[in-house]
Amino acid sequence: MISADHVSVEVEGLRRQFKTKSAPVVALDGVSLKVGEGEIFGVLGPNGAGKTTMIRILSTLLMPSGGSAKVMGFDVEHEAEKVRRVINMASGAEKAGYDFISAKRNLWFFSQLYGIPGEVAEKRIGDLSERLGLTKYLDRKFYALSTGYRQRATIARAFVNDPRVVFLDEPTIGLDVMTARSIREFLQTEAKTHGRTIMLATHNMAEVEAICDRVAIIDKGKIIAEGTPEDLKRSLGAPALVMEVSPPPKDLEMLRQVAGVKGFTSSADEERGLSTVQVVVENDSAANGASAAMATAGYRVVASWRKEATLEEVFVALVGSGFKEREEEGGP
């Protein structure tokens, strides 16, 4: 429980509807959540679930259609200017910067839009760049930076105004493992050492497991689960059942009929002529039922074992059925 004094982001019944030519689309449908100071809060969800809409509203780029949202106590709808003084944002998909101008000068430019005195800005840019491993590349023109360094510069920009809350949308998308890791370490330090709140919208489950204190899973504009990654994994009950099955099954619909099965994934190993099926189960009897269902359907369970559910499996279990429906409807 976050104490009222330390709430950075407070969202209550947030709603956003977009007009389209055919019918209105509800992107957010009564979302409520609270994020505390110094917390890294992950927002997970399939494409079109409403993650980016929520971030856009919280960062004052979009007005809500209903409900309320406050950042550091300021209402995003009516006190947008006050909100803007304490926030910043960055997106991994948009390497925002003026192409022909060096990374350093781009950072300086944005610092000036916040009225930061020259010397302070210079020092802060130097400090951020050093911590992000950008120092050697600061004088390169923005377009000449590699994807990784452009993203480091984008992250540096998001912290140049010493914000209390930072909204990040897929900050490590398309980055190599080492760059992604160094950005994650940077974000953790910013949250834990400087007490900044970071809201992170992403599809990267490993990233969420690695750095997020709490997570909300959002689907069709609603929060369908919220808690620490550990809480969410525990909420699935017993660990997952992993089976190696031969021959590779054409479909796994029979598992849907088993009571206590919450979701499943499979991957075929053609060389060995079998499939690895992972089943998220509520309890031991569901696990036994799943094995029996495979056998009844004519498949041989070569080996089976139990393992801890991953966040990805939680996600699939919670969102999977909806995802299938969306695909059948022609996508979100």
Binding site: T60, N88, R105, F109, L113, Y114, N161
Partner: protein
């Protein structure tokens, strides 16, 4: 302080952005080419028209067209900068980040317009000088221009007095760019065309049909060009002051209304188009 820093940084960024794609001197030289060529084109049209129609070439009228066309190019090139700055900012994904900094988009737009003013003043005056000599050489005629410290001072004052009007036009167009996610790139062409017809740049507005001619004659841009002609061609101080006064008044009115319109573009946030890239 935050306002001053924003304005200064935006002006600096505008100059960098417009010139940094090559060396600054080459960029300035290349940017002089367009106003030079357009001034040459309209001046040659005048020369061709009168000589082929059996009339005598009037050096004062040639100067009228030359000054009008270069100053028209000057106004057109910086009045549309706010539109382009916002449209290109959206395209580069930079604009949303400028939007959500405290109090900055109006100042950013003003800064970009001021940087364009500085560049355009340099290139327009260079184009005027280059066309003056080139036309003299090609058409074998001397063009009547008053170039004295006093006339140049009067021109400089006219250029400065015209800033609010150009900025006002810029905010109007910028408000559209703020709200829209398509066609922004085409607006400059329209504005350039409208200015060419209605600002008295190439011909007196009196030849336009009534009441368009009356409306066009009171446009701050028409008065700015008229004042500049009074300074550089006719040396009429009384007429110059009258035109400068009207230009300033029109500029203040246009700027006030346009700033109000620009801030009303808050609707853009409601509809979520601030960070939408171009269609």
């Amino acid at each position: 302080m935050i306002s001053f820093r924003s304005l200064f940084a935006s002006t600096w960024m505008g100059i960098q952005h417009d010139l940094a794609w090559t060396t600054p001197s080459l960029a300035i030289a290349l940017r002089t080419v367009a106003p030079f060529a357009s001034a040459m084109t309209v001046s040659i049209i005048y020369w061709f028209g009168v000589t082929q129609s059996g009339m005598a070439l009037d050096p004062t009228r040639l100067a009228y067209i030359l000054v009008g066309s270069t100053l028209y190019a000057h106004v057109a090139s910086y009045a549309w900068v706010p539109t382009i700055a916002i449209a290109e900012g959206k395209n580069l994904s930079v604009f949303p980040h400028i939007y959500l900094t405290a109090r900055s988009t109006a100042l950013y737009v003003a800064g970009r317009a001021l940087s364009a003013f500085a560049i355009s003043t340099t290139t327009s005056l260079a184009a005027l000088a280059a066309a003056y000599f080139a036309l003299g050489s090609f058409l074998h005629t001397s063009i009547v221009l008053i170039v004295t410290p006093a006339s140049l001072f009067m021109l400089a004052v006219a250029l400065l007095v015209n800033i609010p009007a150009a900025l006002g036009l810029g905010y109007f167009l910028g408000a559209y760019s703020l709200y829209a996610s398509k066609f922004e790139w085409s607006l400059p062409g329209y504005i350039a065309g409208l200015l060419m017809v209605f600002s008295g740049a190439l011909f007196p507005t009196s030849i336009l049909p009534w009441p368009v001619s009356v409306g066009a004659s009171y446009l701050p841009f028409t008065q700015f060009i008229a004042a500049s002609r009074d300074a550089l061609i006719y040396g009429r101080v009384g007429d110059y002051l009258w035109s400068i006064g009207l230009s300033a008044l029109g500029g203040v009115v246009l700027l006030s209304v346009s700033v109000w319109v620009y801030f009303a573009a808050e609707k853009a946030r409601k509809d979520g188009v601030i960070d939408r890239r171009l269609a």
